[in-house]
Amino acid sequence: MHIVSYMPIHIGAEADLRFVYCAAAISYMLNDWSGVDKEKAKGYILNCQSYDGGFGLCPGLESHGGATYCALASLRLMGFIEDDLLSKRTSSSIINTPMLLEWIVQRQTVGGGFQGRLNKPADTCYGFWVGGVLKILGGGKFVDKESLRDSLLTCQSQYGGFSKFPGQLPELYHSYYGFTAFSLLEVPSLNNLCVELGITDRAAQGP
């Protein structure tokens, strides 16, 4: 069986779900899918669903919050899954949704933050990667919002922005995903997020 995936540069580099997502996001934004074989991409994504319901970056790899986001967001952008899957009574979803759900709700750790992988510490950015998957599925209600919020704030720096873990210095990546996590929490001071693209609705659709 031919496995298709995408590479970051044309001259040779690694290939995995991150680049499937990049291809889907770019094609979606350009509204031009001529560079993507959607069926093959779908097949590759489905092969990345692990025995525990989450998705790994490549088939066989450990379930990972970032990879799961790439999987779900890509499927959504390509039009293979509907919005708010959980409220649809269809059992004909192309992914194993109950198993994914069972896996992903357990990613909220005792401190309230989200971990990217089972039995690993919580990290700010998974507030977006994991929170985003739940949003796509229509499972935002399964997040304990208070404790997520509290946990994210422990990573807010005195200089502004967010760090990966409490007490560390902030940087752009964790700051961005700290903010998007707060957007998903629908705090009134932040704009709504277009989850699949990871940018505001306003940026995605125009004012």
Partner: protein, 331 residues
């Protein structure tokens, strides 16, 4: 101090063997925004790199220069790409190159370019690289047993080149070190389902179930083996629901009255998949109810969800939702 290190001390522009090369400065445009304050050493090394890159000089001195550029910034994928072109042109000893990568990797074990370069080397060396690749990833994993790049490379080596013989034992070692290491459980699944030496999941299922149950009994709060156990049955929900070892395991853990979340959620899944629990299950679950809860004639599924709402409060909304989505026929 070897000759490489000594050469790094002398600026490239002062080395006689580079006298014939005109360095090419970085073109940031007329009014660069936030220009990086490179060190003199960095700027100069990259100016000379650009010169040989533009002239496509695939020579030993270019190879040496790429080593220096990589040490200054291992994330520069253009330098790595050019290094590969030079290695090919020189027909270089790729085993020595493996040592070079290992040195850089020790300080940068999460750098994508390094792992890609390692894979390129292994592809070229073929089955002759198996032992070294398994050793290399093992070394990296001994420093960080969950390094995703290392696991990804290791899985690729096994699938593309082979070397499965000791992999199950390696997983066991890692789980002995840390039974909570989910990467090791994942690798175990990979081996059990993919190794050409083991006969496939169906042949391995029984012994794996026993192995996993033992791990669960020791630490029922460890989510990894519970997920692994479920994974052993893949889509075959019927066999899963009716394997008495699974339900007995749940009952055993429930009877201890502690660390029961996964025992409860597993029992819930069994019931949703058609398992018909005997009265001992209802009794065990009832025992976990809050002391002020009166007797109810809810189905066992509902009762389980109620208990989970209380003992797994972070996910109260999920358990409430599960309660309202139970199959219509539950005991």
């Amino acid at each position: 101090m070897d000759s490489n290190e000594e050469e790094q001390k002398i600026p490239v522009s002062q080395r006689p063997e580079w006298a014939d090369v005109k360095p090419v400065p970085q073109d940031d445009g007329p009014r660069p925004v936030v220009p990086i304050a490179y060190t003199e050493e960095f700027r100069e090394t990259m100016d000379y790199f650009r010169a040989v890159y533009v002239s496509d000089e695939r020579s030993p001195r270019s190879l040496q220069l790429t080593s220096e550029a990589i040490h200054l910034n291992p994330g520069n994928y253009t330098v790595w790409h050019f290094r590969r072109a030079v290695l090919e042109a020189l027909n270089a000893d790729l085993h020595e190159e493996l040592d070079f990568v290992e040195n850089v990797a020790k300080e940068n074990s999460k750098n994508y370019q390094i792992w890609h370069h390692r894979r390129w080397l292994a592809e070229k060396l073929g089955t002759g690289a198996i032992v070294k690749e398994l050793e290399f990833t093992k070394n990296i994993l001994s420093l960080d047993a969950k390094n995703y790049h290392a696991w990804s490379h290791r899985q690729w080596v096994l699938k593309a080149l082979g070397g499965w013989e000791d992999e199950l034992e390696y997983c066991h070692q890692l789980l002995t070190d840390d039974v909570f290491n989910n990467s090791a459980w994942n690798q175990r699944y990979f081996v059990v389902t993919g190794s050409p030496l083991l006969g496939g999941l169906d042949a391995m299922r029984d012994s794996e179930v026993d192995y996993t149950i033992e791990a669960i009994i020791a630490h029922p709060e460890n989510e990894s083996p519970w997920r692994y156990l479920r994974g052993l049955y893949k889509q075959d929900m019927k066999t899963w629901a009716n394997d008495p070892r699974i339900s007995s395991l749940c009952l055993k853990v429930l009877s201890t009255k502690t660390r029961c979340i996964f025992a409860l959620s597993t029992l819930l899944d069994l019931i949703c998949s058609g398992f018909q629990p005997g009265p001992e299950f209802k009794a065990a679950v009832d025992d976990l109810q809050a002391s002020d809860t009166g007797p109810s004639d809810s189905g066992l599924g509902e009762t389980i969800c109620s208990v989970l709402e209380r003992i797994d409060p972070l996910r109260v909304n999920y358990w409430t939702w599960r309660k309202s989505h139970l199959p219509s026929v539950t005991v």
